[in-house]
């Protein structure tokens, strides 16, 4: 192992770049200096906190605390999914639907990885479980947010086309198939794109990290492949689940479109 440890001063020197950026912003009147400093400060605080929390969790090695951390991550990502919708379901569904889809998809895929492929000892070891879960969750979150947003906006726009089909006696499944399919596609396209660009355009962060930590490139590649497959699996389950559940919520068993279960358009 030839891992190079960084001192706080090393990190501080790299932060000089940000100071230069801020000065440039002021000189060019981009008006970004304040935002940039706030974002950077948030980043430093959030990452330091996560570092402390992860260290504590690794030392504790408690399945309970590890699950609590996982759940907290899901709750935050659920809020993120909801914030990215221009229209929302009414009531609890606005938050609950995306969050539940992530909970199920993220948990199932992570457990699958921990118990059959990575197999840490014990299988719930936080050092392995949480980073894998985090990567799956992050990508699933993006997919679900895009898919749901697409469904909720297009269902409003396509309302008269969908209801014309219903009025002519088509089933709700036939009438909704187009918007559902488009929503699922747009939720899945980012992960497909990232699979095709990976390695050529970018060396992914996790692989870079392992290489910097002194791991053989081929070992790091195997890990990256594993993670990408897990991410693709989790995203697909999550997007399918969330979009289909949302479609189900916006219809009823008398084959009606129930846009009364959708909130008004959010003001921009």
């Amino acid at each position: 192992m030839n891992f190079i440890s960084l001192s706080p001063i090393d990190v501080g020197i790299s932060a000089l770049l940000l100071i230069i950026n801020a000065l440039l912003s002021i000189a060019l009147r981009l008006g970004l200096a304040k935002q940039m400093i706030i974002a950077a400060t948030r980043m430093v605080i959030q990452l330091l906190l996560v570092g402390l929390v992860l260290k504590a969790l690794f030392d504790l090695a408690s399945p309970l605390f590890t699950s609590v951390m996982g759940l907290t991550m899901i709750l935050f990502s659920g809020r993120e999914v909801m914030a990215r919708q221009s229209r929302q379901l009414t009531g609890w569904w606005a938050y609950g639907l995306g969050t539940t889809a992530m909970l199920i998809a993220g948990t199932v895929v992570t457990l699958f990885a921990l118990t059959t492929q990575v197999r840490p000892e014990p299988w719930y070891e936080a050092r392995v479980a949480l980073p894998i879960f985090g990567m799956i969750l992050g990508n699933t979150m993006t997919g679900i947010a895009v898919g749901l947003d697409r469904l909720l906006t297009s269902i409003g726009r396509e309302r008269s086309a969908i209801e014309s089909r219903l009025a002519l006696g088509h089933t709700i499944k036939e009438a909704m198939s187009g918007v559902l399919r488009n929503a699922i596609r747009s939720g899945l396209i980012p992960i497909i794109n990232s699979m095709s660009a990976i390695g050529l355009v970018s060396i992914p962060g996790m692989m870079t990290g392992q290489i910097l930590a002194g791991i053989e490139p081929m070992e790091a590649v195997k890990y990256q492949l594993l993670i990408m497959f897990l991410i693709a699996g989790g995203t697909t389950f999550g997007v399918l689940g969330a979009v289909l559940a949302c479609g189900w919520r916006l219809t009823d068993n008398r084959h009606r479109l129930r846009l009364d279960r959708l909130s008004e358009t959010k003001q921009a």
Binding site: I162, S164, L166, A167, G169, R256
Partner: protein, 198 residues
Amino acid sequence: MLSIQDLSRPGIKPFSIDLNEGECVVLKGPSGAGKTLLLRAIADLDPNKGSVFLNQVNKNEYTAPEWRRAVCYLSTESGWWADDVGIHFPNHQSAGELLPKLGIGPDALNWQVARLSTGERQRLALARLILVSPSVMLLDEPTSGLDPESETMVEQILLQKLAEDVSILIVTHSSDQANRLATRCLKMNSGVVSEDIA
């Protein structure tokens, strides 16, 4: 044939009517009175209370698609779910026979929806509904915005359907059209339907 008993939904006070075979009931009333909501409720497109029977069979004994093929609703604004006109007509042969009676050439089936005029859309949407062969037609201003010639053609088709024992509930703002088609006139105000004796 169609028997409606105390049908209601938000915005519509309980409404009852018996519609006989070949009868055309005209529904008039100011915009916002609830005419569209009423037709949509009869077609079961929105949640509603009360009971509706077709030939003594309760609406709920039909599946929703069966019900809407028998009691078919035409909205003011026609909806299209594909780019080609032809895709909206499952049977091109029968469509080709019907369209000329509405003043549209059969080659319209090869057109793009995007190039249709408002009037063409309206007549094609009516043709689409007629080809489902419903027992009851719920028509929401089917001739608004049509030129007089097309309006006459549409009315001729409707009279022909009435003669074939189809029942029609039609919303119109035109008293002349009401006189030409109606066997009975109703008017609607703030969700309440009453006989129009004028």
